[in-house]
Symmetry: C2
Subunit: 361 residues, 2 copies
């Protein structure tokens, strides 16, 4: 009997590409950028940028300069935008990899003007209602016409685009149009991430920024997800045993068996990025004869192990694999059970160095 | 004016060593192992194993074989135990790095017996109440005397040791003593992790396993923390701006300003491992003239940014650093605000590749 101990994380590049194509078509005539910040939401910036580049993507967004350097290695002639902008601590990345800073404040603009990089035209972020990074109208009034014309793109970001009817969408669109018309009439513009794409052509401008949705997340949860699930996470069963009525399970003894049960100990835990908030709430999926069985997590998720109820599966045994993420239990489903969003889930999972990680082409 | 964009993560190896020494003294005459699984709870297995080795530590615990290989590079003559045991997928690590599997099931024992590694005497995990990995009494009855004597250590794990008065502590101790006496009278034994050390000498046996507490976590929360904080996480302010009464902040507009305020946008987010559950609950600390100011997080934590209320800090400006973890707001404090435990917090933070990471000796 083979014994396994290591979780396996499968990332489907074909489906990521299909999701990108679907959203890129929806975005037309706007161009469609790939958002690969945070190591492509933890899934691997190198592999995913490569796949998107092969799919025709020529605009990329990252958060930090160091991330841009990674993308540059696989996207030699792309425009790579850095959303957190440029600073003393990241300048060298911009020079080495010809990255485009998104200037987010007057102070950063002055910094750039004192030490600009040859041949790079920065973008500018304007504030339209998220109240995060960006210039307000009063800040823009301080810039000269020459300064205003020095940007390659004007960018803003929607706060509530995952709720189609939210009043903020119309308000931010109006604010963005106003700022663009007053200060950036001839500058290409980008407002929408994945969620904004579904709000319609008014929101697309010249470039959409596709991140979460290409990784399979439903960014328009008011409708059925049109994106394909791109992830599979499974972990081996290390032990199967009976649990007698009245016995406790896991740290702090938070689960007590209401009747005799059978439990499986699965070799994955929050040390792998599985949210500890799935304790007594999440599920592990086991397939038998092609049928998915949802087995409740019992007690606390611990750092390296999860205990689940396999009473319904007489044949479950050591060496079987339980699924933490699959087509039948997607990242959105897991995040819902964990009380968070799929963005945070995959961002934490993806950084795990101890997974066996496979990219299927 | 200098501009910064990158978070900085400082890990104090001196304090980790001091914490180890304190617990090692408490453990005497038992030996004290270092638990460096999950990349030393995300803080860097190489650097921390090296520091512990220099402090005299000669027993290490990891979860997976691949982690043991990393420790072996800096601990040439140490005993390195692998808690998830050995499997088809990890065998090579054990051979290469002379790792000691902790056998957790009959199936794994049979696997080991079919392909043992020369010169390695495995450990065995027994089940005393956590109902996670390990042999129960009925399983042990199936082993021959020769098999029972083939182990280098007998190990179990406490479920409720962070609550001094919990009935499970006495119950598990009794179960462990019983199994040891009946099956492993002459085998060295280990029962306690950091939290068990504080339960007293009865719980120490031959070896204690020091993890969480050496990283500064209070594993005995019923008393004041005697461990030193070992972490500092800070991130630069990218923008400071006024927020007018009635304006919204962040995704889904979950914060609305009750009066005119001043906000700072700090360059760190859940993409860096900061829990998104700190939304509208956590704090960012700013120091002015040596005084810590606790500035509430406003709205949702986003992937790369946190917005906080700096109304009380007229001098706060771009380029300042806000602290997410420091001596005044420790990993336990942050975890409490986030609704989780410090173990999960640091495990997610530590894997971030985009921090500037410093080890202070």
């Amino acid at each position: 009997m083979p014994i396994y101990t290591t979780p396996i994380f499968n990332i489907n590049l074909t489906r990521i590409t299909e999701n990108y194509h679907l959203l890129a078509r929806l975005s037309q005539p706007a161009s469609a950028a790939g958002v690969v910040k945070d190591d492509a939401y933890g899934l691997g910036a190198t592999q995913i940028s490569q796949a998107l580049y092969a799919a025709g993507c020529r605009h990329f967004f990252v958060a930090h300069g160091c991330e841009g350097e990674i993308v540059r290695q696989v996207a030699p002639d792309a425009e790579i935008f850095v959303l957190q902008g440029i600073g003393t601590d990241s300048q060298q990345s911009f020079a080495r990899a010809r990255l485009i800073p998104v200037i987010c404040s007057l102070e950063m603009l002055r910094f750039w003007q004192q030490q600009p990089l040859d041949g790079i035209k920065p973008a500018i972020q304007v504030e339209t209602g998220l109240n995060r990074l960006g210039f307000r109208e009063a800040d823009l009034e301080l810039l000269s016409p020459t300064e205003l014309q020095s940007f390659s793109y004007v960018l803003s970001h929607l706060s509530c685009a995952d709720e189609q009817a939210h009043f903020m969408n119309a308000r931010q669109l109006e604010n963005f149009r106003h700022l663009k018309q007053r200060f950036f009439a001839h500058t290409p513009a980008t407002l929408s991430a994945s969620d904004g794409v579904f709000l319609g052509a008014d929101f697309h401008f010249d470039l959409t920024r596709l991140g979460a949705a290409i990784y399979g997340i439903n960014t328009a949860p008011y409708r059925e997800n049109e994106m394909k699930n791109v992830l599979e996470l499974k972990a081996p069963v290390l032990q199967v045993k009976p649990l007698a009525k009245g016995e406790f399970v896991g740290y702090s003894a938070t689960f007590r068996a209401p009747q005799d049960m059978k439990i499986a100990i699965v070799s994955i835990g929050y040390g792998d990025g599985v949210p500890r908030s799935l304790s007594n709430r999440g599920k592990v999926i086991f397939y038998q004869h092609g049928v998915a069985h949802f087995c409740p997590i019992l007690g606390r998720v611990s750092m390296d192990n999860i205990i689940c109820d396999v009473s319904q599966l007489p044949q479950c045994m050591v060496g079987d694999f339980g699924y933490l993420i699959c087509d039948d239990y997607t990242v959105d489903d897991v995040a819902r059970d964990a009380g968070t969003i799929a963005y945070e889930l995959i961002s934490n999972l993806g950084k795990n160095p101890r997974f066996i990680r496979n990219y299927t082409a």
